[in-house]
């Protein structure tokens, strides 16, 4: 058998084809990362426009309609198309290395998940050029969105349907990978925390995305095919959307924040140079947060009128989540406590994260108090709260992990000095932007308004808030500059860049070859690489098998074509309510392309190929010089 992967083809076309067809988790991780970064930049730009509009009272920088579109797209993009793929990038790039696997369980589905997400995201963003973006908020409540003119909401429904399918597929993939493909000796209770949080967050995806799929489908048939789920004159009920959306929407917050917790649980022990404090309680807290995350959705609906009993139950359940979250915070603090702390860029993000996230958590418990929530509901207090959780918790994790894992992902290092500058500009900007919004909310400023009257005491706070947003924007631009500068930097070409790596991924010499570990490592305890290092093992790990042939999956272009099929079908559905004659044929054509690819995939055996021992030795000599990976 030939080994396709080793034969070197260069040139732009070959590289492009390689990325379009790849099923390698590391490449897909990079693709998720950069796609996420792209949408993060777009959504960040939208946020800047929003803040410029609100900088001064009675502003007319953007129109009211455009403002609605901007705030809808900002929220939708940040949650579905920026935070999720950025975290998926780290999951793809790091989790298989952390558990000593060759790849994920279903490499083909991994690629399909990416392309569905990407084309769904692209579809959603086409709305800007094709008659207006969605404008009913990221929650898109049916009572508002059902009657929104134009195709904005249709883009929202179809785009999220496609990208949501991709997310669900990736979630299933991670769960199976972590269950079946751990290296020998890696029991569940020896798994690194990032792998644990990936597992639990994938389980949340598994149970949270189907209600969203159903809700979006109801909206789709209501708007495009004349169904009556949400139309009260036809017996429908608009509250159904609110329930379905929040049964998805609340766990979605934990889908994003749990991997962020996991990333910090990796960063903190490395730079405190101390074992993670309370590992088993961290695992327990992760599972408990995941479970409780499904019990609290109606706290978004306190003012809907579900009645005092329902409100009381959901209020208590919501407050209960503070307990496992608090456990985590104390465990991080106790990990740092008494450690030999080394302050680096990832560590300073971790140190900034703890107080910021706690602030967001505390305001969350305030809102859990249903009577108080009646006051805070729909005010800027809410905006401040969830930005403290999302920016203070998730974005800091992503930025910190970007510095932390850059050597493994790209074999380069991000500049440390510039890293500190980015941190301080971004961190101060973040608190300037959102801290004052708490008080704006308490003073009565409602969220989602496109302008406000002067002299209500809101002017100064709004102005400062906008200055903060501009600082955050500068921070992100500098971070991207740092990434670009790193291309010119020296390759890392060593294992354990930070010098204090503990888990399995640090045992690999970068650049990581496409088959990861040439021999499956043997895991002898929690923090396996730390154990080997302290026993004087110079070869990284002890291995569970002799060097032999490695079985790898083939790449395939089918995932891309399947996703394009769904993309085409979405256009048919979009224009269906306009009464055009080609809508149904286009839907059938698009779905036909997807189904044909599935059948083709099923009829063509994909048995993978073997990389031979000699080829591995030759490749490692080329990568690491004489003697190979020692």
């Amino acid at each position: 058998m030939s080994s396709v992967a080793i034969s070197k083809k260069t040139g732009f076309g070959a590289t492009l084809w390689d990325y379009l067809t790849t099923v390698d988790h590391k490449k897909l991780g990079n693709m998720y990362f950069f796609a996420g970064l792209l949408f993060f930049a777009i959504a960040g730009f939208e946020a800047l426009l929003i803040r410029i509009q609100l900088m001064v009272p009675n502003n007319d920088f953007v129109s009211a309609g455009l403002f609605n579109e901007l705030l809808t797209m900002h929220g939708t993009t940040m949650l579905f198309l920026a935070a999720t793929p950025l975290l998926f990038g780290f999951m793809n790039a790091i989790v298989p290395l952390q558990i000593g696997a060759r790849d994920v369980a279903f490499p083909f589905l991994n690629s399909l998940g990416f392309w569905l997400f990407f084309l769904g995201a692209l579809f959603l963003h086409l709305s800007f050029f094709m008659g207006g973006a969605p404008d009913a908020g990221w929650t898109s409540y049916a009572s508002l969105s059902l009657y929104s003119p134009g195709h904005g909401i249709d883009f929202y429904v179809l785009g999220l349907q496609i990208s949501g399918a991709g997310t669900l597929i990736s979630g299933i993939n991670f769960i199976v990978t972590i269950i079946t493909m751990r290296a020998p000796g890696m029991t569940f209770m020896r798994m690194p925390l990032f792998t644990w949080t990936t597992l639990i967050s994938s389980a949340l995806i598994l149970f949270a995305f189907p209600p969203l799929t159903v809700g979006l489908f109801f909206m789709l048939v209501d708007r495009m095919f004349g169904a009556n789920f949400f139309d009260h004159t036809m017996g429908g009920n608009t509250i159904i959307w609110e329930h379905l959306f929040w049964i998805f929407g609340h766990p979605e917050v934990y889908i994003l924040v749990l991997p962020a917790f996991g990333l910090f649980s990796e960063i903190i022990p490395v730079f405190a140079r101390k074992r993670l404090f309370g590992y088993s309680s961290m695992v327990f807290a992760t599972i408990l947060i995941g479970f409780l995350g499904f019990m609290v959705w109606a706290h978004h609906m306190f003012t809907t009128g579900l009645g005092p009993t329902a409100n009381a139950i959901f209020a208590v359940a919501t407050m209960a989540i503070a307990v496992p979250t608090g456990m985590k915070v104390f465990n991080w603090i106790l990990t740092i406590w008494g450690g030999s702390i080394k302050v680096t860029v990832p560590m300073i993000y971790a140190l900034g994260f703890i107080p910021s996230f706690v602030a967001g958590g505390v305001t969350g418990v305030m809102q859990a108090t249903a009577p108080l929530d009646y006051q805070l509901h729909d005010s800027y207090f809410i905006v401040a709260h969830f930005h403290y959780v999302i920016v203070g918790g998730i974005v800091t994790a992503i930025f910190g992990a970007t510095h932390f894992y850059w050597p493994i992902m790209f074999n380069r290092v991000l500049n440390e000095k510039l890293g500190y500058i980015v941190f301080w500009v971004f961190f101060i900007g973040f608190h300037l932007t959102f801290f004052l919004q708490h008080f704006l909310g308490l003073m009565g400023m409602p969220r989602r308004v496109f302008t406000y009257q002067a002299d209500q005491g809101w002017d100064l706070y709004n102005f400062i808030s906008s200055i903060g947003a501009i600082m955050m924007g500068i921070g992100v631009i500098l971070l991207v500059v740092n990434m670009l500068l790193s291309i010119k930097g020296k390759p890392v070409n060593q294992r354990d860049y930070w010098g204090d790596g503990r888990s399995l991924e640090w045992a690999l010499v970068t650049p990581v070859p496409f088959y990861n570990f040439k021999q499956t490592p043997l895991i002898r305890g929690y923090d396996p690489y730390w154990i080997e290092k302290h026993e004087g093992n110079k070869e990284g790990m002890t291995y569970a098998e002799p060097l032999g042939d490695i079985h790898m999956p083939h790449g395939s272009i089918l995932p891309l074509i399947m996703s394009i099929g769904m993309f085409i079908a979405a256009f048919g559905a979009l224009y269906h309510p306009d009464g055009v004659s080609w809508s149904v044929p286009v839907i059938i054509l698009g779905i036909g392309i997807t189904v044909a690819c599935m059948i083709l995939r099923s009829f063509k055996d994909d048995l993978g190929y073997h990389v031979h021992k000699e080829e591995i030795i030759a490749l490692e000599e080329e990568l690491y010089g004489k003697g190979g990976n020692k």
Binding site: A105, F106, L168, G171, I172, N173, I175, V176, I179, T180, M181, L206, F207, F209, P210, P211, T213, V214, G215, F217, F218, V221, D222, F225, G226, A227, N228, F229, D231, T233, M234, G235, G236, N237, I240, L244, I247, H551, V595, I599, S602, F603, D605, L607, G608
Partner: protein, 209 residues
């Protein structure tokens, strides 16, 4: 994976569907997928229950008048039997009898087609003769989406199993296709279980009013 290994009923592993890592992944994967599909159906069931008998003012169609048990009973029997025949197919897979697998999977497909035909007939009757179209009311929308989602799952299952039969008609069982048959049969059982709930919630509870 090597397809050249020839098996005999003696050397055929006890759990062929999980004998390889790929097989094990498929086995775990289909169960995980079904977990999420359960939540999907739960959402649609909940919606149906809240929109049952709801429509525009003066709507004269109700579940008690519309639904009958005769057709639903025949459909239930067809689908339950098809679940049994897919068990027979798996029984033959355990004994390395590829002909048995193909025949019983084929019968499963025929029974599934019978079910699907009756469902289409039922939808046709409601739409054309009862005036109970998809856009008629919230009740009709939720009914067609609930039963139709199940019907779509049946269609997917039929295409999947038919594809497996055609692809593996000429070659015997091996460790590459055994997990595929097994996953398809688990999926088919799941569809069957969902139908039991539809029969209970839509038809039995519907007739009771």
């Amino acid at each position: 994976m090597d397809l050249n290994t020839k098996f005999t009923p003696k050397s055929w592993p006890d759990h062929a569907e999980q004998a390889t890592l790929e097989g094990k992944n498929k086995f775990v994967g289909i169960w995980i997928f079904i977990c999420s599909d359960i939540v999907l159906f739960a959402s649609v069931f909940a919606t149906y229950l809240s929109l049952k008998d709801k429509g525009p003012a003066g709507m004269d169609i109700s579940a008690a008048e519309l639904f009958g048990l005769e057709l639903a009973f025949v459909m239930t029997m067809l689908l339950l039997t098809s679940s049994l025949t897919s068990v027979y197919a798996m029984y033959h897979m355990k004994n390395f009898n590829s002909k048995g697998v193909l025949i019983w999977m084929g019968i499963t497909v025929l029974l599934g087609l019978g079910f699907l035909g009756l469902e289409i007939y039922e939808f046709y009757e409601y739409t054309v003769h009862e005036g109970f179209g998809f856009t008629h009311s919230a009740f009709s929308s939720s009914f067609y989406v609930l039963v139709g989602t199940h019907g779509l799952h049946v269609i997917i299952g039929l295409v999947w199993i038919t594809g497996l039969i055609i692809r593996n008609m000429k070659r015997g069982l091996n460790l590459y296709n055994a997990p595929k048959f097994f996953a398809a049969s688990i999926y088919w059982h799941f569809i069957d279980v969902v139908w039991v709930f539809i029969f209970t919630v839509v038809y039995l509870m519907g007739v009771l009013g």
